[in-house]
Symmetry: C2
Subunit: 334 residues, 2 copies
Amino acid sequence: MKNISIKEIAKLSGVSTATVSRVINNNGRFSEETRQKVLRVMEETGYQMNYSAKTLRMNKSFSIGILVPDITNYFFANVVEKIETILFDQGYSTIICNTGRNVEKEAAYLSMLEGKMIDGLIIISGADEFEFQVQNDKKTIPYICIDREPKEKNKTVFVSSNHYQGAFEAAEHLLQQGVKHPIIVMHQRNSSSAKERLDGFKDALKKNNYSFNPDKHRLDFNLDSSHDKKSLQEFLQQQNDVDGLFAINDDIALNILDYLREFEVAVPAQMKVIGFDNVPAGQHSAPRLTSINQDTQKIAEMATSSLIKLIDGNKEIQGEISLVPVQLIRREST
Amino acid sequence: MKNISIKEIAKLSGVSTATVSRVINNNGRFSEETRQKVLRVMEETGYQMNYSAKTLRMNKSFSIGILVPDITNYFFANVVEKIETILFDQGYSTIICNTGRNVEKEAAYLSMLEGKMIDGLIIISGADEFEFQVQNDKKTIPYICIDREPKEKNKTVFVSSNHYQGAFEAAEHLLQQGVKHPIIVMHQRNSSSAKERLDGFKDALKKNNYSFNPDKHRLDFNLDSSHDKKSLQEFLQQQNDVDGLFAINDDIALNILDYLREFEVAVPAQMKVIGFDNVPAGQHSAPRLTSINQDTQKIAEMATSSLIKLIDGNKEIQGEISLVPVQLIRREST
């Protein structure tokens, strides 16, 4: 099949090259009849757009990049999958990049995505505030942040679950179930969602007349199984009246259920446990895990609609912060 | 920051534009001293490569596409994450595309990836054989298939877990544990891995003098929870001596553990259950799930090294089929 030019398409369709270009880019005025005619000729001749060349000319690629720290994480994978579905229906391809929580890799993928002429960018989570260091200031790429605060808040939209609310409700749920000494189990990763969850937990304690003391109410895991088991055991020996535990995520909560089973601590009789994320494994664990559900569909909808508005030049939404409500899912562990 | 040209970089570095181009593309001969000098000038001037323009000129983008049916699937996400890590270390960016098991979407992403000038492509799973319909025959993109048979086997490399072996061992394990009436629980998705697993199960039965009868030994789920629970219940009523169950994947196996708990069928005492994939949830379930582990690291290593060989023009490996061994992980459910 020979490579056919827009000029030839125009000739065969009986329209100008400018019209063919408008049809290809779905941009500007043309009749439905013209559109059908041009598309038919393109199909018959097997015309294929060279997206790169087109991109260079038209400055629009109909592709959107996503930076995600870890696609093996249930919450991240679900948000990405839902974003992709919505964007595809709107005519955009999604380029997913896995940064492995690595700052250098993130920079490399940002540069790659700029080179691929993406129309917009979605940043999911990660350490620190996000700042888009555009090297070439002739062009700025609209972006929105999910679960990660942007440095230039007035240029973008920030979408996040209400992590504070979720943690607050988790702590209050423990107290309502009769827990007298609740603790939070954190990991050492730096993220805005982790900070919010810690704040929600602390404020729930405060509201219920506990004064939060890190030595008494907080345990940090380092996500190494044997180390974490030992540190939980030591913590529970030192603070031997702990009877309720909020884990910063379900992966940690599920490991804790295993450790407690080994320590012969009965859940929920002696210890109530609640997680965050509502991963499917929590529905099969023994006991089944109480958790906080994040509304990934809503997050995906808000993120995509905001990004498309920014791409379309709507600057009014810049600076918006959308907090998506979360939901307590009660199961056997509390 | 103004947009600087290669010509200016060359002038400032005191070398020819051809040398700058060689340094940028890490291609051809130049001294380390020259390289450092050019890179320093590029850094100082804030030169940014226009990857698309570069791609058009050099015909190499250092990016590789991956088509994956569903990134929320544990096995797929893990293989992709490991491939990305290996490729990044070798200087390639990975563009992950989620096809949602949708044929049209797959075609759209293939076309997008072609437009983005990827150097190579990895296809993971999916229905039917994979055929790369290159519209523009001036260029062919090397690709390899994981868990999906390529149509033109002699042009590519096929990498897969040994699903047949895994299913064979799973069935034999059930029989060795005293199971007299084993069944396989399938889903209705069409995939080469599902076919291999069914064949392995059948052959293990045959070796042990069972004649496989679909009515007696096979149940099909349609992945709708209430329907599946009912069909399992009816099957077990009709075939009331079933005492061992091999689920085609762990997600199905974990649901079955829940259903059996509801039916008050004791696992493993009355029913032994084994899954496939070794998902983390199986380590937390009640009882913990016996499963077949796929070596995602090995699969990722074989896939990437084969693809890079194909990109580098090594045609000798075309037609290779790599079957990666799997491993039985025994836990409480058998």
